[in-house]
Amino acid sequence: MRFVYNLLMTDENNNERSAGAGYSCDRNVYPAGPGEWGPDDRVIAHIDMDAFFASVEILDFPELRGKPVVVGGSSNRGVVSAASYRAREFGIHSAMPIFQAKKLCSGLVIQPGRMARYSELSREVMKILHSYSPLVQQISIDEAYIDLSGTEKLFGKPEETAFRIKKDISDHTSLTCSVGLSVSKLVAKISSDINKPDGVTIIPPEKVMGFIFSLPVGKIPGIGSKSEGELAKAGIKKVGDIGKLSPEFVRERYGKFGERLLEIAAGRVGGEVVPFSPPKSISNEITFSEDTDEIELLEKHLMGLSEKVGRRLRKKYMRGRTVTLKLKDSRHRLITRSVTLARPTCQGKMIYTKARELMEAIEIATKQRLIGVGVSNLSSAREQGFSCSGEPEQGLLFAESGPGEERWDKLDKVMDGILDRFGQGAVKRGRLNE
């Protein structure tokens, strides 16, 4: 058994490894040597569920076990949103068009997505994380950071806690995850990927700088293949190589990501685990089962989506001022148009009206495959002087919402009440029933 932190030492041997090879490793490794966290060191874990959607499908449909499974649109037009590890052996990866995935693997099982079920399990995972620390930052449905600093007395050493969390998740959900444990979000995230799936990677404080220096620059989030190529030309393959160049040169030559590399190489890889960050925008979109250029149909979908977006805004006590319409045609050409309103809104009707105006201004000559609507430029209703849940509300001198719009607000409120009580679809606008 080889221990993961050995891999990460900057001895000559490891420096010679190619980027890929340096990251292969035994499963479920645990550092044999001391992994001492000092009192001032942060303890941060990154938890990443393994092939989350695909794993849930296999969990719910055991007959799929061992088969190459992807979750994605059932038609040839969709893309892979998750691939099981068996499917990945065929070279299938997320975001690959389904038809291409089918070409790579004839026996491919394509499961339609069941977002409600994934969300349910995701919530369960997050609940487990919250039982270890209040500082949980959920990045996406299947990924989160957790700040475990100061939990030693409760749960024992950080590395033990990492394994415990992993076991807890597996006991409760029968799903596996990979855990990266270190002193910062950046290092934790990069390390959780090292022993994927079902692995734990621990980079204790004294190994962090060595680990960072030996990292291929492409592993740094935000540095894409293009930047990587540019850096390679200057002989910068690993983060540690940046020390060969003068900081001034790096800043001038590589701008923003150069600056970031310097920061990282200097060990400044901060970033607090922020339990909640307010959303920047709220949007919904739909891909049609069949492309369409029928304006009526597009409008109908737009109305349904606008209602959904409005409802989600209201649930979060938020309003937004910018409405964005998104259309993608059969040739995947994307059009987005935005308009900024005089006053922030959370009204489905207002969002729909503005989005439809945007659509009317576009000449729809080709068939469309996708339509979406989003609201951004958000602020909490409170900041804007609107009341939420019993707070005082600043009165307005002029009826700014225009005649009759107060009634739409009331209608939204009533519909929200019905939907909260009887569930999705219990009430909708007449037009959406046609």
Binding site: L341, A342, G385, G390, E391, E393, Q394, G395, L397, F398
Partner: protein
Amino acid sequence: MKIIVPLGELNKKMNAVSAVVPGKTTMPILSMALITADDSGISFSATDLDISVSTRVNGEVEETGKIAVPAKKVAEIVKSLPGGDVAIGAEGEILTIKCGRSKFSVNGRSPEDFPKLPKQDSKTEFTIDSGFLGKMIQKTIYAVSTDLTRPALCGVKWEADRGGILMVSTDGHRLAKVEAKLSLGDIQKSEVIVPPKALSTFKAFAEKAEMIKVSIGDNSISFEMTDVSIYSRLLEGPFPNYQKVIPVKNEKELLVSKDLLSAATKRVSILSDALTHQVIFSVSKDKLTLHVTTQDLGEAREELEATYSEDEMEIGYNAAYVLDILRTMEGDDIAFHLDKPDNAGMVMPVDQGGDLKHLCIVMPLRIN
């Protein structure tokens, strides 16, 4: 060009024009001020294309000429000079500033690059006392909206006719209106929306009591003082129908001392919510009680003597709005004209005094 200007005069005028220069601009020439020396004297000008200012400068012209100079830099240099007369010269596009043993050469620009200052297309012209005009501006400028998506509310509406001037401003939560009966002569009625920057620039320059000329055109307004002329574009309307929101049936009158109310509001609002600034006004028989309860912060309460004989009520107001009103009211006592707790409150000075009629409207914070 060669001119000699006393430092005090130079400092004042350079500072004044550089206040008009935009902080950030995509057109570098707008960060310049134009210095002109000709047979009629010396003048400095600056513009941000919306507002232009020209000011006469007292000094000696030894040699006529013109140059555009970086306004903020020159103002900074002038401010740092020790004292005495300052000799300013221009050769080509280089400005020289000499004072005592200090000498500066500053890179300027050709005066030809400087935007031509617009000509006023005047439709309505009248003269008015600068102090009086300043007072009207002070009573309305604070209620202007800063919401750029509602441009008409971002200015003060002026209505001028032969019977006087009316100014009104509102941000949708409160409104300030001041009316002056004046004999402005046989002028054409004019209704325009004046941007606040033009008004604050005017106030900055109008330091001595003098009669000034105001000209209003379709798209612009100008103020002509002895030493300074200010030109500004107007904002486009329509301004909302403010008459409609002035309450007519607010019959419950509350009289209270302005200074006591102001001091009490300041005190209790220390504990008010940082966003809503809510202070509750409780009115009862000859008494006004201000109170604030904010979760996480605490409570404050203060009782004031007042004159009131109607129903008891509790009304929530944004303390900052109330203080703005009190700050601009004349006289010792003010009158609140109230209706229901959710309806607009109207505030006026008890003694209107002189030819001014001043009223403010403030919408309450609805207590849910």
